[in-house]
Symmetry: C2
Subunit: 118 residues, 2 copies
Amino acid sequence: MRPIQQIDEACCPPLLSAPLADRDAAGLAGALRVVAEPARLRLLSMIASRPGAEACVCELTEPLGLAQPTVSHHLRVLHEAGVLDRDKRGRWVFYRLNPEPLRLLRAALEPAGAAVPS
Amino acid sequence: MRPIQQIDEACCPPLLSAPLADRDAAGLAGALRVVAEPARLRLLSMIASRPGAEACVCELTEPLGLAQPTVSHHLRVLHEAGVLDRDKRGRWVFYRLNPEPLRLLRAALEPAGAAVPS
């Protein structure tokens, strides 16, 4: 499996303002691939739609209709990329949306000279 | 090869405002995969940085350092997705950035309730 891409300032140079270096293009492509996956997009949308933008794994598996190890894998990818924060409460792990990585991806896709507010 | 995803209104429902349906998630993932590729990101950045945000294939192959058929393949994917418009002038094909599909991708990654200006 390819290493999981952390979505931070380093990953996501603005795409449209100057020719991307090879390495920057690889970083941005890796960051985009983190979210370019249907189950991960559904998980993000399910978590973002819940009160407080957080959810327990126990609340995500059944509506997603995938096996629990598959769901856990996708949650781990999103967590390692920084898109989801997590904390353990009792026997359950809760995931919460961290909006910053998605803001960085949006900023990378902005037209030249535009700024995306935090 | 998977079919090429057209990046239009249908592909890109807002990710964070309500749980995505299976089919919507597949459409958005496909649209993101169009740009989640290093050579395609480099092509977009090279074209966007040129005067008039357009370039001839003849100007792209050498700086990209890839074989011409590979470059043509990536340009075709971007064109079929709607990210690049193209027209033929004499013996050369020119590609021009169409900003709308990237705007739709940014809008899909917006927080709930936010709007991305055109």
